[in-house]
Symmetry: C2
Subunit: 235 residues, 2 copies
DNA sequence: ACACATTTTTATCGAATGGAATAAATGTTA
DNA sequence: TAACATTTATTCCATTCGATAAAAATGTGT
């Protein structure tokens, strides 16, 4: 936690609750309106605290934003970490192609749950989508990204492509192919603003989420199998 | 043009040039920082006009934003309209499955050119990505979207899915499947902020753009063929 | 050249913003 | 209970913001 006046190693439980409440409110508001579209007063009012509490807990608006990032990262890793762990184990072993593909689809499914399964999920996901930082370095630092769930997903996909194609696909093409493969699911997240236009509804839960998972699994499997080495030499 | 003090039916050429210059600057700045992250003074300074010129030409900040939207919509339709026209003709005729798939991939390729082929393209595309409006109705009205290139692409994809599957895919599943198919390309656009992280470079031009097109065509073709009615009954 | 139209410019406004400083209220522990 | 720690709340600041009104400058047509 950057520069806040509050000390984390000796705080009261009440302060911890207030801090968490502020973060949840900020997540929702930043997610809906972006960093610059929300004032510290907006956040404070909705969290039921006076505005200077934000300086007390987070030092400044950017510190609050950074705390939101950390919160979302943690919950994402919580949600998709186990499936990623399993897939990374498969990749490090002599697993069959079908096991790899199946493990990969399981990871995508855990991502889908994280992104869509609940209102809380939607709030976090919307925050992820609306990442606009007030500095030139609007992005997560590369090293931080490299430890996050998105990077691990990407790297696993590259690994599977290399396995399936027997090394005949260039590193560059593998990277691009991985982005395209994952785009089948991620595009639903990126398109949240107008899901109602393309799907006729804007919440993907229950049966709809199951359908989404089925579609993504089918298409991902098709694409992976199309990459297998002994397949269609003219491809 | 909404409510501006300037009259379009009787303006000078000089005014037209100034207006266009303001729009191009605003596109770039809004695309980079979002609506709330850019002040009217920022835009005016970079366009080389005093701030009240924005009120003169566009009535207010939102009017300028709306003009930017209109500009991007027009250029998108310019870029992808011909390929969409052709595909819609194919869909209205007895074209073969391969002709449909090929026509669809041609449309995706024209989208890729629009999104990535030039610095101007990147500016426009970044603006599209950062659509945050200052009102609750942050979105393009549904009727306006329905006339845009994204909607036409989506509807063509649904049409092709219906054709290939012989009507055995539900309307709801077709819609979702279409989003996933198009996500293979669109995700590159949505991920522009961190393309450097996933690909190792952040400009997709020249050979890289050709590779992207090849990958998208290959995967889209695989997925469409996987939808064909007489294929794999156990699928 | 002059009258009129359009565009640019200057000066100003009220409101909102992120934040600082300080005091008051509440919690914890001996 | 009192001393100390933490948290909450009030007051205030300087700056920035979108926008208005009016004047000055420039363009157009007769």
């Amino acid at each position: 936690m950057t520069g806040a006046r509050r000390k984390t190693d000796s705080g009261y439980a009440r302060g911890e609750e207030t801090r968490a409440r502020i973060i949840q409110v900020a997540l929702a508001l930043f997610g809906e309106h972006g960093f610059d579209g929300v004032s510290t007063r907006d956040i404070a009012a909705q969290a039921g605290v006076p505005a200077p509490s934000l300086q007390y807990y987070f030092d400044n608006k950017e510190g609050l934003y950074a705390a939101c990032i950390a919160d979302v990262q943690a919950s994402a890793m919580n949600a998709v970490g186990p499936a990623l762990d399993n897939l990374e184990r498969l990749l490090a072993s002599e697993a069959s192609d079908n096991q790899l593909i199946d493990g990969y689809c399981a990871v995508l499914e855990s991502f889908a749950d994280f992104l869509f399964a609940s209102p809380d999920a939607a709030r976090r996901a919307l925050f992820i989508k609306r990442r606009i930082m007030p500095m030139k370095s609007a992005l997560m630092p590369r090293e931080q990204w490299a430890k996050g769930p998105g990077a691990r997903l990407h790297n696993c996909c590259i690994g599977i492509i290399a396995r399936l194609s027997g090394g005949s696909t260039s590193e560059e093409e593998s990277r691009m192919t991985a982005v395209a493969i994952n785009g089948q699911l991620l595009t639903f997240h990126f398109s949240r603003d107008h899901l109602d236009y393309v799907l006729g509804y804007d919440e993907i839960t229950g049966d709809r989420l199951a359908m989404l998972k089925r579609i993504v699994r089918r298409q991902t499997t098709l694409v992976f199998k199309g990459l297998k080495r002994p397949s269609k030499p003219q491809r």
